[in-house]
Symmetry: C3
């Protein structure tokens, strides 16, 4: 007996929606979609058939979550992020593309790890994994896998630092960092960030 | 006696729509628009008065097709591509812009050639022509004309290779290429790609 | 006794709207918003609670105007510009973000000065001011304050010239420029553009 909110101007064609989730005006959530608990899906968003969204996910306005995109627990999707699921898109209605779209072998997955943030208007090229708690800056274009806790900037996006689980930037000194805001501690171990608590 | 589909949540103000075309939820297609046969226009798209769209065109979600934009047969417009039609936009409501918007001399055209693909969130500066079967990568910003079959990347977009009519990358050896996927053959002739069949 | 137009497919929850303003299909303007006179808000736009928009502003389609964004008189917001108001966004539903979203200390303002233009798909990082009559090119990513009359290009955006109040490019000769289109005159004084009339 799930209790969730759907704005009267939204079009929601699934009932697999967790308690506490809110879906706002002019959204279209297709049938065959699963949305977790305590999520928020902003106005003018679209969620395609077959997508599964975990708990505590924030999806800001104007997003399209395509088949093949996996959003893990607590992900933040900024305004109008660009997901993709086809690396060589063509209009399937053209004879010259032949049988490419006869099955789903064209479909490339994207995985966005637990707690990661994707900034406004960032572009996520399909086939890549965004590590947990990574932060992709507004306007960045992600063309390869992103390490957990990495801060990514630019087109193409490059790693330019590290961020805390709470979102603030981390500064490592001899391989150790403590977040000045929330007090979480981290170790930098062979180029990877390890959360200590 | 055209047979096409309009989603009940769409607003379509023209009847000049070809057979087999589908227009999805929360779209707004204005009066004075012509849409060809067998097209698909995704949710939350807008097509402005005066636009003419050819057959077999795929328009993904959230697009705005402005007056001045020409989409030829079989074009693929990825999610929320940015078309433009004014190189020096101002709020026409300001006295300081004077008579600039009294007529349509400000309006710059964009032509997207047969079978070309525009990736998610790419930006197409008005006044340019995208050659047939070209592919603009997601997030690229096109600031000049694009050659047929060219693959364009980055901001500003640069040509970084060639693609087949089916969408896959071409590799030329002594001026000749055969697509490893569909078998089409091409010749590179003075910097231009020629389709051989 | 204000006279303004709201399209029947729009959702407008405020009555603080100036005379002559038009709000188009599938827009959502929240309660607590103030919109000035003679504005135009294109289809599929969203204006968040608490926003105040001045007179003569043009907002093209698909925009999200968040709390914290100030649009001064005569601003032009191109199609789907990316405003932001949180420099370190996280899903506030995650326990690990702690008390960050308990108050509004996370909220960063953006000010867009009188007569400025923001091109299609440009990204405006919060905490910055766009000077009056500046022009941000389509696809540019603004990461710092922008000088009045500056033309900004690229990711990150750099100043690449100056523009007239009417929108056209200015060419300075020994510190003086006259717009070839509208005849306005300017002086370049210590790196700043001064309007002479």
């Amino acid at each position: 007996m799930s209790e969730y909110y759907v704005h009267p101007k939204a079009l929601v064609e699934t009932e697999r929606i967790g308690a506490g989730t809110r879906i706002w005006a002019f959204c279209h959530v297709m049938s065959g979609v699963t949305v977790g608990r305590n999520c928020n899906i902003g106005d003018h968003s679209f969620v395609e058939e077959g997508v599964s969204i975990a708990d505590n996910v924030t999806i800001k306005n104007g997003n399209c979550i395509w088949k093949g995109v996996q959003l893990k627990e607590g992900v933040f999707v900024g305004p109008r992020v660009f997901f993709t699921n086809d690396l060589y898109p063509r209009s399937g209605r053209m004879a010259s593309v032949g049988p490419r779209y006869d099955d789903e072998s064209w479909l490339e997955a994207t995985v966005v790890g637990r707690g990661a943030s994707l900034g406004a208007g960032s572009v996520i090229i399909a086939g890549n994994t965004i590590g947990e708690y990574a932060m992709v800056a507004a306007g960045a274009v992600v063309t390869h896998d992103v390490a957990p806790y990495a801060l990514m900037l630019g087109n193409p996006a490059r790693a330019r630092g590290w961020v805390c689980r709470c979102g603030l930037k981390l500064f490592f000194d001899e391989g150790s960092a403590m977040c000045g805001t929330c007090g979480s501690r981290y170790r930098l171990d062979g180029g990877s960030v390890v959360y200590l608590g």
